[in-house]
Symmetry: C2
Subunit: 377 residues, 2 copies
C-alpha cells in the first residue's frame, strides 16, 4: 500500500488530475539501505530517475553523490547543495561544449566508451578523470540493456591508454548489469572484466583505482535488510575474488532502487467498456497512460501494482489503456490486468512503484495533456 | 530535400540545438491537396499531430475544421480563430467534466464508442451531436491501430440508439483505417460497415447523416496530384457503392498527412564509435532520440529520411541512437541506417518528414534535456 503519509496527503489535499506523490521518508530509508548493503561503496544517485529538487536536496544532505546525464542535471545537483567533486558526468555521449560547461562548473569525473569521446574530454576538460564503460551481457536483468553504452574490455584498455596519453587521469572502469537485475552473479562476470582491464593497464604502468558498478539494484531487495546485506556481500565477495587485497574504490549508481518504491501515482478511471457484447475483456481507461508518465509499460515490461478502493470485490482481467487518441497508448493488453468487476467511471486508482522514470518521461503536451504533476512530501 | 525556405532559415538563423522547422507553405499545399482529392468532404485537422498556433491559425484561415483530443486542444483551436461549430471533440475517452467544459465553450460534436460514454455526453452536453466509432481491421496500414477505439458495428447500433433515446442527436459513424494506409480498398470495408449501421438505424426511424472517415492518408499521395485524385476517387466510388444516391456528409481527419512532410528536424552528430575493433556497424549518436521527439521510431516503425552534407560519399549501415542515458533510446538497430562513412562528430543532419507527432511527443525533461524547440516559418 501507499505509505501513511501519502494516504494522508491524498485524503486531505485531494489533488485534481493524475499526479505522482513521493514520500521522502522512503527515499531516506532506501539511501540508508544502500549504505548498509554496500558500506564501502560511494552512492551516486542517478538523477535521471527523478530530478525533483526536494529529492536531490535530501540526498545531498544525506551525503549522496550524483550521477548526471547532462549539464542541466549537473546544475540541478549543484543547486541541491552538492559540491562539484560529488558529481559524475556519467553519460558517454556528450557534446564537447557540454563537457566544457560541466568542467567550468567544477565537474572533473567523466564517463567515456571510445577514443573519440576521450579526445573531446581531453580538449574540453584537460586533466579530468575518466572511467571507461565496459559492455556486459546483462543476462538475468528484467530489462537487459542494449549495446548502446560501453565497449568490449579489450577496447577499454586502448581507450584508457589514450586518456592517459592525452593528459587525462585514467581512473577506472564502469559497467551496468541491466535494470532490475536479480542475479547477484551478474556482478561477478563484470567485475572479472574490470579486474582484467586493471591488471593489463597496471602492466603498462597505468594504475586504475575506481570501479563504477552502475545501477540495476532491484527495489525489492531494499525492503528486506538481511537480503540487502546478502546482496551486498555477494558483490563484495566477487570484488575480493577478482581484486584480492587490492580492492578498488567502488561507486554504485542507484536510480530506480532509490526512488521507485517511494512514489505512488493517483489516477482516475475515465471509462470502462466492452468492444462487443461477447467481448472477453473489459477495457478500463485511466487519465494517465504511456504518454503521461507510464512510458515504462512499453512492451508491458514493467507491471506496476495497482490498488483500488474495491479490491475486496471479485476481479476479472481487464485491458488497461491511457486517455490519449493514440492507439499505442495501451498499458496492459497482452497480459490483461485483474481489476474489480465493480470498478467504474470516476473511481480513483493508485499505481504503486512509480517514483522513478515517470515525471520526466512524460510528454510535454501530447493531446494537449499537461505533464505529470508531482508532490514531494 | 528540405524546402528552400527551410534551407534559408537554417543558413541565416543557425538555431542552436536540435529543433523542428515547419514550412507553412507545405501545410497550405497539403490542405489544398486534400480539398482537391476529396472536394465533398469537410477537413477536420487532427490537432494532436502538431498544435503549433501558427499551423492552427493558417488552417483556420483556409477554412479547416478541427479534430480535438482534449479541452486544451479545443481551446487552442478557438484561440486560432476557429468557431466552436468547426470543432469536433474526437476522443472517445473523456471525463464528464471535460465534456461539460467543451460544451460550455460551444462544442456540440462528440465521439463515442460505448453506451457509458453516451450517458456522460447526455448529462454533460444535452442535445449535442454524437458519432460512434466503429472498429475496422486496419489491414494494409503501416501502423495498424489496436482495438483501443471503437466497437463492432452491431454494437454501434445500440450505442446510437441509446444516444437518440437520451436526447442526443445520433449523427453518424466514424472509423479509422490505420495510420499511413496505402490500400485504398481499406476504406471500402469500413464504408460497408458504416452503410450497414445507417440502414439498420433508418429502419428504426433514426436517420444518420455523417460519416467520419478519420485519418490514415499517407503523406506521399499528396505529392502527386493525379494519384491524390485517384485516391479520392477510389473512396468516392466506395461511398457510391455503399450509399447509392443518398451520399452522407463526410469528414476526413488528416494529421500526419497535413503536416508530416512540412517539417524537418535539424540535429547534430554527437559521437561516432565502434564497440570493438571488429564491430560490423558503427554507432552514430545524435542530439535527438526517442525521448526528444522521435518516439515514432519505436519498434523502428517509421523510418525517417535523413540528409547529411556528405551524402555523395560512400555509405555504410550504422546503428543510430539518441543522446540519453537510456538503453532504449536507439532509433534504428534491427535495420541499420546507411550513412556516409565520412560522417563525423559535429556534423549537422536533417531528419525529414518530422512535422507530425514530434514536438508534443517529446518528453518534458528526460535526462534534463528540454523539449524539442520548433520554428514555424
Amino acid at each position: 500500500m501507499a505509505t501513511q503519509r501519502i494516504t494522508d496527503f491524498l485524503a486531505t489535499r485531494r489533488p485534481e488530475g493524475p499526479c505522482l506523490i513521493v514520500d521522502l521518508d522512503v527515499v531516506r530509508d532506501n539511501f540508508h539501505g544502500f549504505r548498509k548493503a554496500l558500506p564501502d561503496s560511494a552512492i551516486f544517485y542517478a538523477v535521471k530517475a527523478n530530478p525533483a529538487p526536494e529529492i536531490l536536496s535530501l540526498l545531498a544532505s544525506l551525503g549522496s553523490n550524483f550521477d548526471c546525464a547532462s549539464v542541466a542535471e549537473v546544475e540541478m545537483a549543484l543547486a541541491a547543495g552538492a559540491s562539484a567533486d560529488r558529481i559524475s558526468y556519467g553519460n558517454t555521449i556528450k557534446k564537447e561544449r557540454d563537457i566544457a560547461r560541466a568542467h567550468g562548473l567544477g565537474v572533473s569525473l567523466f564517463a567515456v566508451d571510445c577514443v573519440e569521446e576521450v579526445e573531446k574530454v581531453a580538449r574540453a576538460a584537460p586533466g579530468a578523470r575518466v572511467f571507461c564503460r565496459v559492455l556486459t551481457d546483462g543476462a538475468g536483468a528484467e530489462w537487459p540493456l542494449s549495446r548502446k553504452f560501453g565497449c568490449v574490455p579489450v577496447m577499454a584498455i586502448d581507450v584508457l591508454e589514450a586518456a592517459h596519453r592525452l593528459g587525462l587521469v585514467a581512473t577506472g572502469v564502469s559497467f551496468h548489469v541491466g535494470s532490475q537485475q536479480t542475479n547477484t552473479e551478474a556482478w561477478d562476470g563484470a567485475l572479472a572484466d574490470a579486474a582484467f582491464v586493471f591488471q593489463t593497464l597496471a602492466e603498462r604502468g597505468i594504475f586504475l583505482t575506481l570501479v563504477n558498478m552502475g545501477g540495476g539494484f532491484p527495489t525489492r531487495y531494499l525492503k528486506d535488510v538481511p537480503t540487502a546485506e546478502a546482496y551486498g556481500r555477494s558483490i563484495f565477495d566477487a570484488l575480493r575474488r577478482h581484486f584480492g587485497n587490492h580492492l578498488p574504490e567502488t561507486i554504485i549508481e542507484p536510480g530506480r532502487g532509490m526512488v521507485g518504491d517511494a512514489g505512488v501515482i493517483k489516477a482516475e478511471v475515465v471509462l470502462v467498456s466492452r468492444k462487443s457484447a461477447t467481448d472477453e475483456n473489459r477495457w478500463v481507461y485511466l487519465d494517465i497512460g504511456k504518454f503521461g508518465g507510464l512510458a515504462e509499460t512499453m512492451d508491458e515490461a514493467i507491471r506496476y501494482p495497482i490498488v483500488t478502493g474495491r479490491d475486496d470485490d471479485q476481479k476479472e482481467p481487464c485491458i488497461l489503456a491511457g486517455p490519449t487518441c493514440d492507439s499505442a497508448d495501451v498499458l496492459y493488453e497482452k497480459m490483461p490486468y485483474p481489476l474489480p468487476i465493480t470498478l467504474t467511471v470516476g473511481d480513483e486508482v493508485l499505481i504503486k512503484g512509480t517514483g522513478a522514470y515517470t515525471t520526466t518521461y512524460a510528454s510535454v503536451a501530447f493531446n494537449g495533456i499537461e505533464p505529470l504533476r508531482a508532490y514531494i512530501i
